[in-house]
């Protein structure tokens, strides 16, 4: 069967079944039903659905339901949002997006306070690091040099402990490592703090630094060179 083209009247049929139409609308729908088999069928269907729903709904134990309810709230206790189960921030029963201006103001205040606190803590951290003699840049990238000599200045600036390779012997100098480890952690400073001898020594070490990889890849297994030296 085709649907009735009178959509306005069809929209009213559930209200008609529930007896919620005014007198004029009820008379109009009644007259329409007398002439429209489709809508008359739909009304019968609606009444069947309604009666079936009533018949299949289990009976409730009202006393048990009431007994499970909480006591009326005390004044000052913050309610829980019943839909979400979280502490209520707005008005219960309010439509989405209709939060009160007071709660929106509180939220903005918290965001501003959090931003100010973050900036303050960050700035304080920088100041403390500088007072301890550590430039922030030293944390990120400390210049690493090759400690070629055990005479590395104990109080020297920016000389990080490192695996020292002697340009002469090519072996690790234990004394250099120990001296470097005994030195304080690298702190601020620059080339200007070095004595002339130290600068020359450093440049010499850099010139002899063999850190650039060979153009040809090394074999995975070391091949003994002439003389049996690896």
């Amino acid at each position: 069967m085709t649907d009735c083209p009178d959509g306005t009247t069809r929209d009213l049929l559930p209200d008609f079944v529930h007896g919620r139409l005014g007198a004029a609308a009820t008379a109009r729908v009644t007259a329409h039903l007398a002439a429209c088999a489709s809508c008359a069928d739909e009304v019968r269907l609606l009444r069947t659905v309604l009666s079936a729903a009533m018949a299949t709904t289990p009976a409730l134990d009202r006393a048990r339901l009431v007994g499970a309810l909480p006591a009326p709230p005390r004044a000052g206790v913050r309610p829980i949002d019943a839909v979400s189960g979280r502490p209520a921030t707005g008005r219960a029963g309010a439509r989405p997006g209709s939060a009160s201006g007071a709660s929106a103001w509180r939220w903005s205040t918290w965001r501003i306070a959090a931003s100010v606190a973050t900036i303050g803590i960050g700035g304080l951290s920088v100041v403390l690091l500088q007072r301890n003699g550590q430039a922030p840049s030293a944390i990120v990238a400390t210049p690493t040099t090759v400690a070629a000599s055990p005479a590395a200045p104990a109080s020297g600036p920016v000389v990080a402990p490192s695996v020292a390779a002697s340009p002469a012997g090519g072996s690790t100098t234990v004394a250099a490592v120990e001296a470097a480890e005994a030195a304080p952690l690298p702190a601020g400073g620059g080339m200007a703090d070095l004595a002339d001898e130290e600068v020359e020594s450093l440049l010499h070490d850099i010139d002899n630094f063999d850190g650039v990889p060979d153009a040809n890849p090394q074999p995975a297994v070391a091949v003994p060179r002439a003389g049996g030296v690896l």
Binding site: D6, L12, R20, L21, A24, A55, P58, R91
Partner: protein, 200 residues
């Protein structure tokens, strides 16, 4: 014939008197809430009497069978727990349906995480309502309920709230988180699907 879903606003003589009745019901609910908040626990009994059956019908229509009373109780407990924050921007019944719907969705999610429990899905509609044969003597009722159970969950919610509870499209839209126009379209699609299933 194409579905003719009119969005025209009814004229004054077509306006449901339910609007006035609903306003009166809302006012009565507000008065009872105020009494309960003032410490009158008998008001809770009256509020339960006014709304518990509707909550049970909605739950049963949505496929809840064994735990209907528990679901109604959870809904009421949660609602009364925050009743002092309720200001009546929507009706109490609409608010209660919204809470109950959320609880049902949460239950279904948890049931999906527990595969040993059989959840009622759309495909289970026939099985679900075969079990109702003993409860519903009228064969026509069983067929109608099976047709309603075969609807998509959203269509089923909208159809039930409109037909069984007589809610307006605006109220239904608030409950299911939709628009009034979308609720109207869902209702008419659901009605057509139910008719087609019954005429198969």
């Amino acid at each position: 014939m194409a579905l003719n879903v009119s969005r025209k606003v009814p004229s004054d003589d077509q306006q449901p008197v339910g609007d006035d009745a609903r306003r009166a019901a809302d006012a009565a609910d507000q008065a009872l809430i105020a009494r309960w908040l003032a410490g009158d626990e008998r008001a809770a009994t009256e509020l339960v009497d006014r709304h518990a059956d509707a909550l049970a019908r909605f739950a049963a229509s949505m496929g809840e069978r064994t735990d209907v009373e528990e679901l109604v109780q959870d809904t009421l407990v949660r609602a009364f727990g925050s009743l002092d924050a309720f200001r009546g921007d929507s009706s109490l019944r609409t608010w209660l349906f919204t809470i109950e719907r959320r609880l049902m969705l949460d239950r279904r999610r948890s049931e999906r995480r527990r595969p040993e429990r059989v959840s009622v899905e759309e495909g289970d509609a026939v099985t679900e309502f075969t079990a109702l044969d003993g409860m519903v003597a009228d064969e026509a009722r069983v067929e109608v309920l099976a047709a309603v159970a075969a609807l998509s969950p959203l269509q089923r919610e909208v159809f039930t709230l409109r037909v069984t509870e007589g809610l307006s499209y605006r109220e239904i839209a608030e409950i299911v988180g939709s628009t009034e126009g979308a609720a109207r379209v869902h209702y008419h699609h659901a009605m057509r699907a139910v008719k087609e299933r019954l005429h198969d």
